[in-house]
């Protein structure tokens, strides 16, 4: 919402406050100023090191160089048909100024003008925008010769002064413009671009902002006068209004003005409209827009003669009703709109005239020929308007306001303001009275506030009288009864509720008016809440730390993906997805089923950026549940590829990582989690894993995860290097469920006996089985078993392998003897011979 400062000063004296001061006060009061656009007033200079809080744009006008002047004669240029020479008086002397402005060209050669034209005159050295450049380029006016005539100054267009984009002609001021006055003093302005929050809809207008400023500064708000002359037959005799759905149309007001002359609005009005972001059209349309921007009530002007003609001999009957499904109306933008039963229409007896609160119909629109106008100001249901505007994609200044809530009390005020401006600018005569149907008056909420409430919720001490004094600044009606303040919301507000909600609404205003900055800072005195903590979160954080110590980088990927993207990994599996109804892009159309797929995307992104990569992600994978919210399963996914060890200047090469690089880290991770009894079982059933290099990881028979090398057919679907990609995937909830409690064993006091044995077994015998048998047979006396060599070769025969283990025998209470150790070893060897046909290698 763009609010010119000059317009604010119609309603409040802001003397003594700088532009930045005003913006600062608005910003602290929830009317956040996004930008200040200067259009003439001096800008804070950044070079002077002045602190300024706001983003700024535009230019300030040099008071010595840019002034109001008058053109007294337009003469031809001796050497150029398109240029003219102006006799111009700048308040000090008459001089000749060269221009190419087309909007005074018709006065060329007419001699002295009967009525001089008031213009903006920039002298040599002025800083202006270059009118001919694309966009906004600052330039300084220099002395030059154009077609043999010296030029050192110019008459300005709006673009050159930063008022609008307009560069088709020079500005022509109203006749009362004071010649010789610095332009900055005449129309210098600054525009506040304010974000209107949803609860601040009442302030999407000039007087609303002025009211807030008055409240924040303790200054007086000047109310608009709304005085105008009337004549002729009263509107009440000519127009009747019928509201069929008061809940959708609580109020409808209409006024009539006759014999208007459609002409441009005064320059000052056009200038303000432009600064506020609206295009001036003519004095009638401008009056509706100007009154709306000023007071907040959107107005609609009908060509009364069209309505009269449609009504025949009878009085005009305005009917508001919901549309029939499929009913059609051509709106004033020329589009034929097909309506639904949700839309509200303003109609007469012949049919629809406009879409209520959103856009008028083409037939009854104001044209150059319009002479008599029926002016509508109404109140509509904001949710209905909102849905209608969305349904027809018709955002407008009117629907912006109506869809956020406009108080019905504004309807007649708005119409009177509109009629007043129309009378003033178009020469028309207002008919006496208004027609005003007001079947549904909004409740005026009454809230009781006490100093205790203020203390309890805001933490400040205010007496009842002080509370009332603050609220009265925003036009709340307050009655103090002992320690109670009975507060009635003003008739411009729809955001004040009742009961506990009303109390919060009113206390917010108390806090805002008192000043958030004056409220003290205190420490909560409440008792501590129950100490519950979040063991799952804490455990996951510990797991993250553990994984980073193992060399994995954490990644956090998009949870939104596409089935096609995940199909690269989860091929051939028909999966249900949590589908997004309104995705931002096809590749973000579902929630991921697999965290691993997400990690592989990251691996792909980085494949050629680093010689080795090791990633993990902990996060949710989503699965739809019919009739319920989806499951959000916590998963850990790991992926690594590239060289085994970091390369260095004396180690230019390293073997590539294989399955055992990842497995070793997983073993360390599981060990760090104190998981015991972990088994790795070969599997061929995971389609995305290499069938010979994949294992299921289980604890006590419960599957907690998978480990393997990415299947080459899957790997080729990602853009990766040709190095093996090792991946693992864990279900964290299952993993947490099998976490054991554990104790610490005493540190042994007696030395172990160390011994190596090598056994030859068939290739098909799993190493884990051999080790399991060794541990089981050795029992407690066997403190450690470590496989240190796997050998295959002709010495031991085809289809065989030799597994060499380092064994540590140890007794808790004494030094073990060689004989005791030998007995255990013999038991182990016998067991291996029996169970897996092992042979001790000599």
């Amino acid at each position: 919402m763009k609010i010119p400062l000059s317009w604010l000063t119609d309603f409040i004296d802001l003397g003594g406050l700088s532009v930045e001061d005003i913006a600062h006060k608005l910003t602290l009061a929830a009317l956040e100023v996004d930008e200040i656009q200067y259009a003439g007033l001096p800008m804070p200079s950044s070079s002077s090191g002045q602190a300024h809080e706001f983003k700024t744009a535009g230019i300030g006008w040099d008071k010595d160089k840019i002034v109001v002047a008058e053109i007294r004669e337009v003469k031809p240029h001796p050497n150029a048909d398109r240029l003219t020479l102006l006799d111009l008086y700048d308040g000090q002397k008459e001089q000749t100024v060269l221009t190419g402005a087309p909007n005074i060209f018709h006065l060329k050669g007419q001699g002295r003008l009967a009525k001089p034209l008031k213009v903006a005159y920039a002298k040599e050295g002025s800083t202006l925008y270059d009118g001919h450049a694309e966009g906004l380029q600052l330039t300084t006016l220099k002395r030059t010769k154009i077609r043999g005539v010296e030029s050192y100054s110019m008459v300005c267009s709006e673009k050159e002064l930063g008022i609008s984009e307009e560069h088709e002609g020079i500005i022509l001021f109203d006749d009362d413009a004071p010649v010789g006055t610095p332009l900055a003093d005449y129309i210098g302005d600054a525009v506040f671009d304010i974000s209107i929050l949803p609860n601040m809809a009442r302030n999407a207008n000039v007087i609303g902002v002025a009211r807030e400023l008055a409240a924040m500064t303790g200054r007086e708000l000047k109310q608009p006068d709304l005085i105008y002359q009337t004549q002729g037959e009263p509107v009440g005799d000519l127009v009747k209004i019928e509201i069929t759905k008061p809940e959708l149309n609580p109020r409808f007001v209409a006024g009539l003005i006759r014999n208007v002359v459609i002409a441009p609005s005064p320059y000052e009005i056009q200038r303000r409209l432009k600064l506020a972001g609206m295009r001036p059209i003519n004095c009638i349309v401008d009056a509706t827009n100007y009154a709306m921007l000023e007071l907040g009530e959107p107005l609609h002007a009908f060509d009364y003669d069209v309505l009269k003609q449609r009504a025949g001999d009878r009085p005009v009957r305005i009917i508001t009703r919901t549309a029939q499904d499929g009913e059609k109306l051509t709106t004033l933008d020329g589009m034929q709109r097909t309506l639904t039963s949700m839309n509200v229409l303003v109609c007469d007896e012949k049919g629809p005239l406009s879409i209520a609160g959103i856009m008028g119909g083409a037939e009854s629109e104001v044209t150059e020929e319009t002479r008599n106008i029926l002016l509508e100001g109404a109140a509509w249901n904001f949710i209905n308007i909102r849905r209608t505007a969305q349904q027809h994609s018709l955002p407008s200044e009117a629907s912006f306001r109506f869809s956020r809530g406009v108080h019905p009390a504004l309807a007649d005020v708005g119409v009177r303001r509109g009629l007043q401006y129309m009378a003033r600018w178009s020469g028309g005569a207002v008919a006496p009275g208004l027609v005003d149907e007001y079947p549904l008056k909004p409740a005026q909420p009454v809230v009781t506030v006490t100093p205790h409430d203020v203390k309890r919720l805001l933490g400040i001490e205010l007496a009842a009288g002080e509370i009332a004094a603050l609220l009265e600044r925003l036009e709340f009606a307050c009655t103090v009864r002992g320690t109670e303040v009975i507060v009635t919301a003003p008739p411009n507000r729809l955001d004040i509720g009742e009961g506990a909600v009303g109390l919060a609404d009113v206390l917010e205003e108390v806090a805002r008016l008192y000043g958030y900055d004056r409220i003290p800072e205190s420490n909560m005195a409440d008792e501590l809440p129950p100490q519950i903590g979040n063991p799952t979160h804490e455990w996951e954080e510990g797991l993250r730390d553990l994984l980073t110590t193992l060399g994995f980088d954490e990644v956090v990927g998009y949870r939104l993906t596409s089935p096609e993207s995940e199909a690269r990994l989860l091929q051939g599996v028909a999966l249900d997805y949590v589908k997004i109804a309104n995705p931002i892009a096809p590749e973000k159309s579902v929630l991921r089923r697999s965290v691993l797929a997400s990690v592989l995307d990251d691996l792909q992104h980085n494949a050629r950026l680093s010689e080795s990569l090791a990633f993990f992600e902990i996060g949710p994978a989503f699965e739809p549940l019919p009739g319920d919210l989806p499951t959000e399963r916590r998963e850990l996914a790991l992926a690594m590829t590239g060289s085994r060890s970091a390369l260095a200047w004396d180690q230019p090469e390293s073997p590539r990582r294989d399955l055992f690089d990842l497995k070793g880290r997983i073993e360390l991770m599981l060990n760090g989690l104190h998981l015991a009894g972990v088994t790795f079982t070969p599997t061929t059933s995971i389609t995305y894993l290499h069938p010979g290099k994949a294992a299921e990881i289980a604890v006590g028979g419960k599957l907690i995860g998978l480990l393997g090398e990415l299947h080459p057919r899957v790997a080729e679907k990602y853009e990766l290097t040709d190095a093996p990609v090792l991946v693992a995937d864990f279900d964290l909830e299952t993993m947490r469920a099998v976490l054991p409690s554990y104790g610490i064993k005493p540190v042994p006091e007696f030395p172990p006996i160390l011994e190596d044995i090598a056994v030859i077994v068939d290739e098909t015998v799993a190493a884990s089985q051999v080790e399991g048998l060794i541990r089981q047979t050795g029992g407690k006396a066997l403190a450690d078993v470590r496989l240190f060599d796997v050998y295959r070769g002709s010495q031991i025969g085809a289809g065989k392998k030799s597994l060499a283990y380092s064994l540590a025998y140890q007794a808790p209470d004494k030094t073990m003897t060689d004989a005791e150790a030998a007995a255990i070893r013999n038991k182990i060897v016998r067991r291996l011979e029996q169970e897996v046909g092992a042979k001790l290698r000599s």
């Binding site: 206390l507 900055d517 409220i519 909560m524 980073t548 939104l560 589908k579 200047w649």
Partner: protein
């Protein structure tokens, strides 16, 4: 018999020209070996008279002790010289790079979430995690965003295809605030007549229907804080968050509170912190304003308290929310939010 002094002089003389271990061994053989003159003297002692023997023996012994000492000294000298030589030879170019191992790093968002949660934990806020896919009811309606309310414009949602659910569609949470409702209800269930106080931090991923650009993302983390109890005031909110700002941005950080609007709090505020880059003078980071928008906050709306099972006449509370990625962008002057989920190692390895 040879003069002992002469042997010592000769041997000592010879020792000075010894340069290495081999020379030293040759010297030892010559002067202290089995066939050395000295050994011959010892061998000849038996042929001497009882009177001469002790004196000659003593003299020979003195020679032996002297020569052995000289040998030991020379051995040590040679070893020292050898060490000196090898130290000189072993000199490395210590400016060559070292051999590294791969160091794993936490994602920057995790690091920032931890900073925030750590400070909040020390202030008594316990972590409460809650689901990312929510109903419209919990994400909006119970938080005082009625259907079709203009406040919803502030949070464009991604909806889930879930059949006809009327005004309660399923969506991806647009903020962590639905966790407020879930937490309040969980706490209130502990003692519905007198619900216990609450002080929780709600971290997690949130989603908005926004195109992915350098300034906007479809997903982002949020951390919210919620304190509910029988005596919590706006002054407590200010105290708590000003303390948080000091912990987060330094003890000298200044905070200011601006009036604002959120449907689920009232009064609502934005907390700005004086720009820590320019100290409030105005710079690129704060876009000239001298202030950085850090978080939104406010007193919990009575409707939200009620929906959570807390009687607004007896309880009050405050809530606040902030964005860890935004904080990182300010702190490290990151100008493209897309870096966070792109997981480019060249970005990650800078944290």
């Amino acid at each position: 018999m040879a003069d002992p002094l002469e042997i010592i002089a000769k041997a000592t003389q010879a020792l000075t020209s010894v340069r290495d271990e081999a020379g030293l061994e040759a010297w030892r053989v010559e002067y202290l070996g089995r066939n050395s003159l000295l050994m011959k003297i010892f061998g000849s002692l038996g042929g001497l008279s009882k009177e001469e023997r002790p004196k000659a023996g003593q003299a020979a012994n003195e020679v032996k002790v002297t020569l052995e000492a000289a040998l030991a000294e020379k051995t040590e000298a040679l070893r020292h010289a050898q060490l000196e030589r090898s130290l000189a030879e072993e000199k490395l170019d210590v400016t060559l790079p070292g051999r590294t191992i791969q160091r794993g790093r936490l994602h920057p968002s995790t690091q920032q979430l931890r900073r925030v949660l750590q400070i909040l934990a020390e202030m008594g806020f316990q972590v409460y995690t809650s689901r990312e896919v929510e109903t419209d009811e919990v994400n909006f309606q119970l938080l005082n965003f009625p259907p079709h309310h203009p406040a919803r414009d502030m949070q464009d949602s991604l909806y889930v295809e879930a059949g006809e659910r009327g005004e309660n569609p399923i969506l991806l949470r647009t903020h962590t605030s639905p966790g407020q409702i879930r937490a309040m209800r969980e706490y209130a269930a502990m003692n519905p007549q007198n619900p216990p106080p609450i002080r929780i931090a709600l971290p997690g991923m949130c989603y908005r229907n926004e195109q992915i650009t350098s300034r906007s993302e479809v997903q982002f983390n949020q951390v919210e804080g919620l304190a509910v109890g029988p005596g919590i005031t706006f002054a407590d909110l200010k105290g708590c968050l000003t303390n948080f700002a000091r912990r987060m941005f330094g003890q000298r950080a200044r905070a200011r509170f601006r009036a604002s609007y959120f449907p689920f709090t009232e009064p609502s505020a934005e907390m700005d912190v004086e720009c820590y880059v320019c100290g409030g003078k105005g710079c690129n980071v704060c876009k000239g304003s001298g202030w950085l928008e850090i978080l939104g906050c406010g007193m919990v709306h009575p409707i939200v308290l009620e929906n959570g099972g807390y009687d607004p006449e007896r309880y009050s509370g405050f809530a606040f929310g902030m964005g860890p990625e935004r904080q990182l962008m300010l702190r490290y002057r990151i100008d493209d939010i897309r870096y966070f989920w792109a997981n480019d190692v060249r970005f990650l390895e800078q944290f």
